[in-house]
Symmetry: C2
Subunit: 431 residues, 2 copies
């Protein structure tokens, strides 16, 4: 197997496809990864690094020799330097900065003012700017001179760097009067994105605009760069990957291979948090030791009660979290949603409670136990529906990310409610 | 609250933002949704429908009068008709088809040959084609005539519809000789996407190409349309949303509000499946009734053992499923991954087993119970790590989607293994 993997790698090196090489390097254990890295041709090294996730990239930086590092630092532009900044020391960033030309230095400083949550930091700078007193002819020339393939509009910027507006390329191409002043061609109200807009907000503004790119301006109205659909694509990817990883307490940057101890530490926090909730569930069960020691069937059936509540609740939770992200779920329609979810829960609660009650009745030859578990399952599914609506709403209100902590809180609730009703009813009706 | 929601809606209607209206309509209960729909201006109706999810859209189609339906059918182009086809009857599709001009009819027929998993079905047709014997000048003219804002390249297509190649717009703009034949300007090996490529594959090809659009061709080499970054963006969104929804047995098209019975039915299957696994866990526990009735502490502590295995396993599972999607995880590196995951599991297993053992020892004043749960937790975490690597690999090999079923299978394994080791050890060491 090691053999065949190296064949794949050699092939990718020959084909010079940086993204493939990035993926392949990430899929190797650290030692093999660093060995293979040496085979990456110098001219691809920077793109290959940029295509990797933060942690995987870090493992390569840690093993990198001085001359390769210098080679990479020399090859960066403002955007790449921003992207790699977290992997670099202050000193290395300064060095790379000194290698930039003055235009790139300006872009870098503009972007570095924003933090990682803001779109300004990830502004794209492959754009064509022209002064307001240029003519249509000049704009077309600037466009032809530019080596930029993806130019849907040119940006009009004055001497102070203030953003004045955009002119679509299609309009420039159609303009009959080559001497027309650019200032007069500016579309009335250009949609702009603020540098301090959160990443997802900026992506949505772009999507709703229907265009390929939008200008990003800072609070003083200066052009910071542009956001393009290419940027939107990776923001979207990272956003969803973060959500998927957050469900198990990990981050998007998590690497398949990290030093074992480091990996263990990253995951330990989540295990510990969940241990607390498990102990809480155990403590709840412990309140009913008396009935448990006399009716062992209750102990046997506990997973059924917990599972039904947990699953039903997580269905509601998932729908609500998605709706929160698009702002379709708010406290405003939460009551309508609760009615909807309670209605669904009533159908499934009654139906499955009946099934479980009957199975239990036959299994343990006890109608009472069947009744107890039936009621407990139904109650738990109803509580789960309400919790599924309100837990994410409340977490969101309190500025916690429901995608991260919603499921933990929800299963804690359904576990505790499930065990209390089940074992509590058991104590009342059986003992 | 109802009041304020209608204010928001009226505002969006005034601003004429179709995507906002789509989101708002989706956030309303069906009755209110259909009432509000009547307020949407006719000229926005089609875009508003297109911006909604399948199920929500369906609720509006069900309440739609004949004349509005006809208005919408008349306003569709080939792409929109494909998008709405699932909401329409055969008859309605035929009617809409008859309203298309012959060019759009061709595009529609070309796209309809592909099924929902294939990129050909979702081809974009806002493109400029030119014949190979045209001149650079003609191509530029076609470009200026086109009302298409986002044109990064023109597509060279012969009389039979065969795709010959692309010419970047930047190249056309720079061309000095207006009489140069387009045939001679074609780039040597254009990257193309096959109409039968799966959606995600096509998206990746586009991403790796670094461009804005790529031609889509059918098996006979005819141009079907193009894939653009805008298409890639919604494919990516639906892909990740499907994954998030699949984790709770729902689909991406799920609506916040559906008729309650329909909603209950959609969720019932998943509850039933999980009930089976819960019963399996219960049955496993039932094998140890003897020890449970004598040592009630074991019943109390069961959630801790199950939870630790389930959480640790889901962390591995999530990493592996993500790696499978990028083809970074295969059977080829599964052994290296197992070693990695087992290493991490050993750290966390030993660490948390010790914590849990000591807590248990103090809680129940029994060293043996502490020892039993410690060993069980450690064993379960180790098994969870291995299962987290191999369950998704095997599911994938058997053509099951690990994102859908991986978690169910995994928790079944960790539940059963956890209960057997914990209660089995308890029987051996305590009784």
């Amino acid at each position: 197997p090691e053999e065949s993997q190296s064949v794949v790698f050699d092939h990718a090196v020959e084909q010079l496809v940086p993204t493939e090489l990035s993926l392949l390097l990430e899929s190797l254990p650290i030692e093999a990864r660093c060995a293979r890295w040496l085979q990456v041709p110098d001219e691809l090294k920077t793109s290959v690094l940029l295509g990797m996730r933060y942690q995987a990239r870090d493992s390569i930086f840690l093993a990198m020799d001085e001359s390769t590092l210098d080679l990479i630092l020399r090859s960066l532009d403002a955007e790449c330097l921003i992207e790699l900044a977290d992997n670099l020391t202050e000193e290395q960033i300064e060095k790379a900065f000194s290698y930039l030309d003055s235009k790139q230095q300006n872009w870098y400083q503009g972007a570095a003012e924003f933090d990682e949550k803001h779109i300004g930091r990830y502004a794209d700078h492959k754009l064509v700017t022209i002064p307001p007193n240029a003519k249509a002819r000049d704009a077309l020339r600037a466009l032809k001179r530019g080596t930029i393939d993806l130019c849907d509009q040119v940006f009009v910027v004055d001497k102070q760097g203030l953003f004045l507006g955009v002119i679509p390329v299609s309009m420039l191409l159609k303009e009959k009067d080559p001497m027309r002043m650019v200032r007069g061609m500016i579309e009335t109200v250009p949609i702009t994105v603020l540098g301090t807009d959160p990443l997802i907000t900026a992506t949505e503004t772009l999507e709703h605009s229907g265009g390929y790119s939008l200008p990003i301006v800072d609070n003083d109205g200066r052009l910071v760069g542009r956001i393009t659909q290419a940027t939107a694509l990776w923001i979207m990817k990272e956003h969803f990957e973060s959500q998927l990883m957050a469900k198990v307490g990990l981050t998007e940057s998590a690497d398949l291979f990290v030093p074992v101890f480091k990996g263990a530490r990253q995951r330990a926090v989540w295990l510990g948090l969940n241990l607390l909730t498990a102990f809480l569930a155990s403590w709840t069960i412990g309140l009913f030791e008396n009935v448990l020691s006399q009716v062992v069937a209750l102990a046997v059936l506990m997973p059924v009660v917990a599972s039904m509540g947990g699953i039903a609740g997580s269905q509601t939770l998932t729908l609500i979290i998605r709706g929160l992200a698009t702002k379709q779920v708010t406290f405003r329609n939460s009551w309508a949603l609760s009615k909807q979810e309670l209605g669904i829960a009533l159908f499934n609660g009654v139906g499955w409670a009946a099934v479980i009650g009957v199975v239990t009745w036959y299994w343990f030859e006890s109608g009472v136990i069947g009744l107890v578990i039936g009621i407990a399952v139904m109650a738990n599914i109803l509580v789960a529906a309400l919790s599924g609506v309100y837990i994410p709403l409340i977490l969101d209100k309190c500025k916690f990310d429901p995608a991260l902590s919603g499921a933990v809180v929800l299963t804690t609730v359904t576990d505790v409610v499930g065990f209390v009703t089940f074992l509590g009813l058991g104590t009342l009706l059986i003992l």
